[in-house]
């Protein structure tokens, strides 16, 4: 059993710019961790899963806290954007409602006030909630390192359990989201034992774009949390509905495919069978909810 103990000893350096963070990280990449909201890292340290000698505090790096609309209709947000920002930003609520909906389901107001999107992605926890909806949106992340910067599709960001493709000297600085069609919308549903403020047992994100007929599916992306060693896009499940109308049978088949592609594990918290049952149920509900909402807004002309 691991317990929450007092923090191990460490040295704290508060950084003011991405450049400074980069320099500090390059100095001792293996012994240094970046501290954003700390909602994951502090717990890991208190469990002694990690005991970095140096913590670089990001609180003062104001250039990483922003939400910006792009000229192409897309959006970027800085790594220090908090869950609360995501939950309440008018821009995100309007264009990427699935992200506000996701934020509102995580933790309580205290956690949402400090936890950041960058930390949620860099933590690479399978139970993190943001990777799945962001993957369905086709998000990319920008990594800045000593040799320059690069963009990586979030779908390819998590090579294996607990890891990202970021090099030890690279910092995740921003998340880029493509523009969305007026005939699209998403839904993220998660399950946890308690009605709020609890670890995700399984989550399902669905983002659907309809054809101009406003009936059939142009594209459906589905991704799952806590259903595999990494945040998992289930491509076959998404592809199944392409060109089809929403029917109960088709939904059932989509969910069955999602279960086939998922690789949930058993733990004392939830057995594999239970997680599969949840994947099935949540996939159906998330797809249905996203689809019905798109149809409603498309036909009601609200969006």
């Amino acid at each position: 059993m691991t317990y929450l103990r007092r923090l191990p000893k460490f040295e704290y350096v508060g950084a003011r710019s991405v450049r400074e963070v980069s320099d500090l990280l390059a100095r001792r990449p293996d012994e240094t961790r970046l501290l954003a909201g700390g909602t994951d890292l502090i717990l890991q340290m208190r469990r002694r899963e990690v005991a970095p000698r140096y913590l670089v505090g990001l609180k003062g790096v104001s250039e990483l806290a922003f939400v910006r609309q792009q000229e192409d209709g897309g959006m970027t947000m800085g790594a220090l954007t908090t869950f609360q920002d995501i939950e309440t930003s008018p821009l995100i609520r309007e264009k990427y409602g699935i992200l506000s909906q996701t934020a509102s389901q995580i933790g309580g107001v205290e956690i949402r006030g400090v936890a950041t999107i960058g930390g949620n992605l860099m933590g690479a926890q399978p139970c993190s909630d943001f990777p799945a909806p962001l993957i369905t949106l086709g998000a990319k992340v920008k990594l800045v390192g000593k040799d320059g910067e690069r963009l990586v599709a979030l779908e390819d960001f998590f090579p294996e359990y607990g890891r990202t493709v970021a090099a030890p000297d690279e910092i995740l600085t921003e998340i880029l989201l493509p523009a969305t069609s007026k005939l699209s919308g998403g839904c993220y549903l998660k399950f946890h034992d308690r009605h709020a403020m609890d670890m995700t047992i399984t989550g399902a994100a669905a983002f659907v774009t309809l054809n101009d007929d406003r009936q059939t599916c142009s594209e459906l992306k589905i991704a799952l949390s806590s259903s595999a060693p990494v945040p998992k896009r289930v491509k076959k499940a998404g592809a199944f509905l392409q060109g089809k109308k929403l029917t109960e049978d088709a939904l059932e088949e989509t969910a069955a495919l999602a279960c086939q592609e998922a690789e949930p594990r058993s733990s004392w918290r939830a057995r594999r069978e239970f997680r599969l049952e949840l994947i099935r149920g949540l996939t159906k509900r998330a797809v249905r909810q996203a689809w019905e909402e798109v149809m409603a807004t498309a036909n009601g002309g609200r969006k």
């Binding site: 059993m1 929450l4 007092r6 308690r194 069978e273 239970f274 149920g281 509900r285």
Partner: protein, 790 residues
């Protein structure tokens, strides 16, 4: 004298300070030169301690001492005495109490993860914990007993090397001829039940600080405790001193819920450290320690059956219960014994036989957690009632109604022996009225049609009913001093020891009615052995009944003295006088009155030297009275709850929650309602969320609030509360107790409602907590489920 304050919805006088952070807890103490302690604890569930090497720890700058058992005073190198007496009728399978109680620091064997092995005292907690990590303990790890059912078999792993088996005690509660009753029964139904253990989880964990007055040799101990006088007694014994050399003060306490009712190893060790070092020493429990070193409760397995006649009247109940007490018996058998006797409940049961086996395992020891065995006993009885009703196709409320003890049968002896050897006699109550009122508040009669409508829409809603009777007002006594001060204001000093119950409001209400003073002019002092020498403490829903009655009696005595003096002063007869606003008034003459302050001077023989008093009247306006109840008072209640189950995920939502509660005379309805609401929250946690898991090696699995889920605001319904007031004849106030009724009925009612919601799947639920994962597991066994899951 009319009751003006008793029964009034007075806001708690404690809260303003607590809400703005002006409470004063053990953690707020600032004593000059105070050091902090940290404990070295066993990481193993069962091991022999081969050696303890502390040199490195002692060398760390800032460390003042590292103590092991051998370094403690000789009087403390013994097991901590059991906090209650095991009745003589119980069969004990151990040779001496020392084998089933714990040493303050490990002697040669540790029997659970978290057991205290050594203590470090340092300048601050950080240094103390750094040093604790440097203490090298060499263990021989032994196999451990984790599963209580497996712990009784032949060749089972022993939880203690010195015990012949893991079976510590056997007790039997029986009356009538149960086997004959079962033979002539028209119907017999069986249940195998499991109730799981949880932590009490008060906001403030345990905490203790101790300081030695080197001039007098007196030790003062501040403790976040429920029973200061008991702790004083235990500490004095372990320190090898007499009682009066130890004073225990309990400041504000952030919740107790039972586990703080015993004196723990840490308290004794901190006291010893303060004495050895002659410096104040403090230890504050952190949450990790609360999970692994503070007592827990509710691990029981029940095999029970019920016999009914043709009219669905109970002929008998029989069975056995296996109680897992963890590694030791710190509180004797209070919990299993109470649970077993509570099973009987509000029903007429002529024949009863329950065999209880108490087993020791290598887990955190068990004492009491709000309800103290009763939620388990009620769960057993109410599950049997539901099982019978379902099998007979009867309405479960109707089956219960047929079997309730009627008010005209009161007082009613159930013929079973209670935890302290006394026979249970229900003192008063109207059980049919309780159930009827609860069903009415919950709209029970209309539910079946709502349920059918919901089902047609693919929604699964259900309703559950549970009745309980709870022994409250535990003896042997409680005392109070009521004292008029020179200003005319009043001090009340009581032996009880609140942890959030609102005693400073409720006891003031009792006193105010006696003396006619405003609540603001009454100060209530509790939890200080230096202020009242004899006391018991706040456990077992006993303070209203006992401390409340003591305040009533002491207040009445002071009132008598006030009137006697006022008669002289106002030249009036007692009948013509009335007390209000801290004065005695002559009825009908607003000008004629005398203040308590003036009477106080008169009660001292005047304000100057040379006065005289009648020898038969003691000086001053104060009295100390002890109230000694002849038996427990028995409160009762009915819970009715409505739930909705999401059969796709197993999520359970409590839609409505009704409690009708009869705690005798209600001193303060707001406080009682708060107790019921909070108690239900606790019960919701027990029923649905709180899972204190251990693996096969008895290692705790859920020792953080990330893994151990407490109910939060989103899970807890607003409880609709109905009061019934059947005054208790046991005490002069007529009160019973209100601290636990909200919890006791909750798991039974909630589980019944879930089972009722899932009627179409024909599954039986025999356990709590019922988590979503477990519910889906149960549903997946039903052939009808797969096709229906949305």
């Amino acid at each position: 004298m009319g009751a003006k304050e008793i029964g009034a919805r007075v806001k708690r006088r404690e809260d303003a300070a607590l809400l703005v952070g002006r409470g004063s807890y053990v953690g707020d103490l600032r004593l000059a030169g105070m050091l902090d302690a940290a404990f070295v604890r066993s990481p193993h569930a069962h091991a022999l301690v081969r050696s303890i090497r502390a040199e490195a720890a002692r060398r760390l700058p800032g460390v003042h001492a590292v103590l092991t058992l051998a370094d403690l005073p000789a009087s403390m190198q013994v097991p901590i005495p059991m906090a209650s007496v095991i009745p003589a009728a119980v069969e004990k399978l151990y040779a001496s109490e020392a084998e089933v109680t714990q040493y303050c620091l490990a002697r040669d064997e540790v029997c659970y993860v978290g057991q205290t092995v050594a203590v470090v005292v340092a300048d601050d907690r950080y240094v103390a914990e750094d040093a604790a990590e440097l203490v090298e303990v060499e263990y021989d790890v032994l196999d451990s007993a984790s599963d209580p059912q497996g712990a009784l078999g032949n060749g089972a792993v022993l939880s203690h090397v010195r015990l012949p088996s893991n079976l510590a005690c056997r007790l039997r509660l029986a009356k009538g001829d149960v086997d004959a009753a079962f033979q002539r029964a028209a119907h017999v139904f069986r249940e195998s039940l499991h109730t799981h253990r949880g932590s009490a989880s008060p906001m403030e964990g345990r905490g203790v600080a101790a300081a030695l007055d080197t001039a007098t040799g007196t030790l003062t101990v501040w403790s976040s405790a429920q029973t200061p006088h008991n702790n004083q007694r235990v500490l004095a014994e372990l320190m090898g001193g007499s009682l009066e050399m130890v004073r225990v003060i309990v400041p504000d306490v952030g919740g107790g819920f039972g586990p703080k009712a015993i004196c723990y190893a840490e308290e004794a060790v901190v006291a010893a450290c303060a004495a050895v070092l002659a410096r104040p020493v403090r230890w504050l429990e952190d949450r990790r320690e609360h999970f692994i070193a503070t007592t827990q409760e509710r691990d029981q397995y029940w095999e029970v059956e019920i016999a009914l006649d043709r009219d669905a009247r109970i002929l008998g109940v029989r069975g056995r219960m296996l109680h897992d007490n963890g590694a030791y018996l710190p509180l004797g058998l209070i919990t299993p014994h109470t649970g077993a006797a509570t099973m009987h409940g509000p029903y007429e049961i002529a024949n009863f036989h329950l065999d209880v086996s108490v087993v020791l395992t290598n887990k955190v020891p068990v004492s009491v957690v709000r309800g103290a065995g009763r939620p388990e006993g009620v769960f057993a009885m109410e599950r049997l009632m539901d099982r019978a009703a379902r099998s007979l196709g009867m309405d479960p409320a109707d089956l219960r109604r047929r079997n309730l003890i009627r008010p005209e049968q009161m007082p009613y002896s159930i013929g079973l022996v209670y935890r302290h050897g006394e026979t249970v006699t229900y003192d008063s109550g109207d059980y049919p009225a309780s159930q009827a009122k609860a069903l009415e508040l919950a709209g029970y009669d209309a539910f079946a049609s709502r349920q059918a409508d919901a089902l047609r829409a693919g929604r699964y809603i259900g309703i559950g009913v549970a009745n309980f009777v709870e022994g409250t007002g535990l003896g042997p006594f409680e005392g109070a001093t009521v004292r008029v001060l020179p200003s005319g204001k009043v001090h009340v000093i009581a032996g009880c020891c609140p942890q959030g119950q609102g005693h400073k409001t409720a006891l003031a209400q009792v006193c105010a009615d006696q003396l006619g003073v405003r609540l603001d002019d009454i100060t209530v002092v509790t939890g200080d052995t230096g202020a009242i020498p004899m006391g018991v403490g706040t456990i077992a829903s006993r303070s209203g009944a006992n401390a409340g009655s003591a305040v009533l009696l002491a207040g009445a005595e002071v009132r008598k003295r006030i009137l006697r003096l006022a008669c002289k002063n106002l030249e009036a007869r007692e009948d013509d006088l009335e007390l209000s606003e801290g004065r005695v008034h002559l009825k009908g003459d607003p000008a004629a009155s005398v203040s308590f302050s003036e009477l106080y001077r008169a009660a001292l023989g005047g304000a100057r030297l040379g006065g005289w008093l009648s020898p038969e009247i003691p000086p001053g306006l104060e009295a100390t009275t002890y109230f000694t109840p002849r038996q427990s008072a028995f409160c009762n209640g009915t819970h009715v709850t409505e739930v909705e189950v999401d059969i796709g995920t197993g999520r359970i939502r409590i839609e409505r929650y009704v409690v009708v509660h009869d705690c005798g005379r209600v001193i303060n309805p707001l406080i009682v309602e708060g107790q019921v609401q909070g108690g239900v929250a606790h019960g919701v946690g027990n029923a649905l969320l709180e899972f204190m898991g251990y693996d096969d090696d008895a290692q705790p699995l859920t020792a953080t609030f990330l893994d151990y889920l407490l109910p939060n605001a989103a899970c807890v319904p607003r409880v609709e509360i109905g009061h019934l007031e059947s005054p208790s004849p046991i005490n002069p106030l007529g009160v019973k107790g209100a601290g636990e009724g909200g919890t006791i009925g909750a798991p039974a009612a909630i589980i019944a409602a879930i089972e009722n919601a899932l009627k179409p799947f024909d599954i039986a639920i025999s356990e709590f907590p019922l988590t979503p994962r477990r519910l889906i597991e149960l549903l997946s066994r039903s052939a009808k489920w797969g096709a229906l899951a949305p």
